[in-house]
């Protein structure tokens, strides 16, 4: 009897939720424990707009870390992300968002990010360049498995990697192959885009 009441209560609750809106049901689902969006990171984008890292949940995303004054490797990271996108069909490409988070909490303010976006003609509709403070840069890198170190002259030594997150923020694939296409990575991206 108790059990039955419980079931009825659940059905009523479900009905209420569905009645309010179908979307609510999806958003209310608990975030998976292995989602990188468990991390609370306040960020600012190239337009000076504040957002929470966790608010990016919902779409598959390529994520990488870079800094704007980086002379050699970071332009190559951007090139590699573009090459990777070109391997997708138009419909797949439209679903794939990109986040480039800066290592350089001191120098990469929104204006520097904006200048970089304009210089590299980055479409900030799907791509976001973002910054956070130094302590959160360390946490973000740790959760993404990215190593970096600032040197005395202000430059950074860092892992160059493209990471594929599924819509829930789980790391689905990563590629450290820079400057050319990584076929396995492309396959993984297509699989996530066709699924999520």
């Amino acid at each position: 009897m108790i059990r039955q009441t419980h079931v009825i209560a659940r059905i009523v609750l479900l009905g209420l939720l569905l009645a309010s809106t179908g979307v609510t049901l999806t958003l209310a689902a608990e975030l998976p424990g292995d989602s990188v969006y468990q991390l609370q990171v306040p960020m600012v984008d190239q337009d000076g707009k504040n957002f929470d890292f966790a608010s990016l949940r919902g779409e598959p995303r390529l994520i990488t870390m870079f800094y704007t004054s980086c002379p050699y490797m970071c332009p190559l990271i951007i090139d590699t992300a573009r090459m990777t996108e070109r391997e997708l069909d138009a419909k797949q490409r439209a679903k794939l968002f990109v986040l480039m988070a800066s290592f350089d909490a001191k120098r990469d303010d929104p204006a520097a990010l904006k200048a970089q976006a304009e210089k590299r003609k980055i479409n900030t509709g799907r791509w976001t360049l973002a910054r956070t403070d130094a302590a959160n840069v360390r946490k973000l890198a740790a959760i993404l498995g990215i190593q970096y170190r600032q040197l005395d002259d202000g430059e950074f030594n860092h892992t160059s990697v493209l990471i594929l997150l599924d819509a829930e923020g789980r790391i689905a694939a990563r590629s450290e192959i820079m400057g050319k296409i990584d076929p396995e990575f492309i396959t993984a991206i297509k699989a996530v885009l066709d699924r999520d």
Binding site: A28, Q38, A141, A142, R149, L151, D153, N157, I177, M178
Partner: protein, 274 residues
């Protein structure tokens, strides 16, 4: 629906473990005293990991460092106040499955564990604990700077006898729980930097050692950039080099049976350092 289900299950399991070990947990939680932080004057020293091509001295700003590593009793009090860091509730992305599994329950420890340093904590959990003390994990350089001292000298690293004593500890096999905190204080008054556990540092994911491979021509190898590559100085300091090798192999959610931590705070008096 998913949310509804899991929160009910979570509450039930919490209650279960409380019942199992409530008495011990209650008794110990009351014994936790405020941690002591020791003022460390800033200074310059030669690190085994210089930050530039030339082995420039590394400058350390004045700070306060916990006199001892964080204990099980202290960490227990922390997870009780912050249940999202209990082993049965922590998100997997922050701590792997062996997190705190030396404790008899998610919210209890054995009496014998109270004054032992907490181990099997992830970097994320250690960082969160330090934030709860308005502190943070020390950087590698801060840790190495203070750990260079012996009982009487602030930099005893050139003394072969001191090096051998530390190396002797690393050569012992580690099995079972670590000993209690409270070893001999070093010249600053900080204890247990050597001989008890390994310790997390804030920038554990900055310690990789790489040759500058921008010029090698193979894009597969172009993993790192930056003006200066890291190079190891002082190759005879094996004990310190082992720590770096171990720390740089870890991920933020990893735990090990002899890896704990301590915290540091920026020194309130820290202005210019001589």
């Amino acid at each position: 629906m998913k949310f509804f289900n899991s929160s009910v299950k979570r509450a039930a399991s919490r209650q279960g473990s409380r019942l199992a070990a409530g008495a011990i947990a209650l008794g110990l939680a009351m014994n936790v005293a405020a941690a002591e932080y020791i003022d460390i004057p800033g200074g310059k020293y030669q690190s085994v990991l210089p930050t530039a091509d030339t082995p420039l001295d590394v400058a350390i700003e004045a700070m306060s460092m916990r006199s001892e590593p964080v204990t099980n009793a202290e960490f227990l009090a922390f997870v009780k106040n912050n249940p999202q860091w209990q082993r049965d509730q922590v998100a997997g992305v922050f701590a792997e499955s062996r997190y705190l599994d030396q404790w008899p329950a998610a919210d209890a420890i054995d009496e014998t564990q109270a004054s032992q340093p907490v181990v099997k904590v992830s970097w994320f959990a250690a960082q969160a604990y330090c934030e709860s003390e308005n502190a943070r994990l020390p950087s590698w350089h801060e840790w190495e700077f203070v750990a260079a001292a012996d009982a009487t000298r602030r930099d005893a690293r050139k003394d072969p006898a001191w090096r051998n004593r530390i190396l002797g500890w690393y050569s012992q096999t580690s099995s079972g729980d670590p000993a209690q905190i409270g070893g001999e204080p070093n010249a600053y008054g900080v204890r247990d930097l050597h001989g008890l556990i390994w310790e997390w540092v804030d920038d554990f994911n900055a310690l990789f050692i790489s040759a500058d491979n921008r010029n090698q021509g193979d894009p597969d190898l172009l993993k790192f950039c930056g003006a200066g590559a890291l190079s190891m100085q002082d190759r005879d300091n094996y004990a310190i080099l082992m720590r770096i090798a171990m720390l740089s192999s870890l991920k933020g959610a990893d735990v090990t049976g002899n890896l704990g931590f301590r915290c540091v705070r920026p020194n309130s008096n820290s202005g210019a350092t001589p």
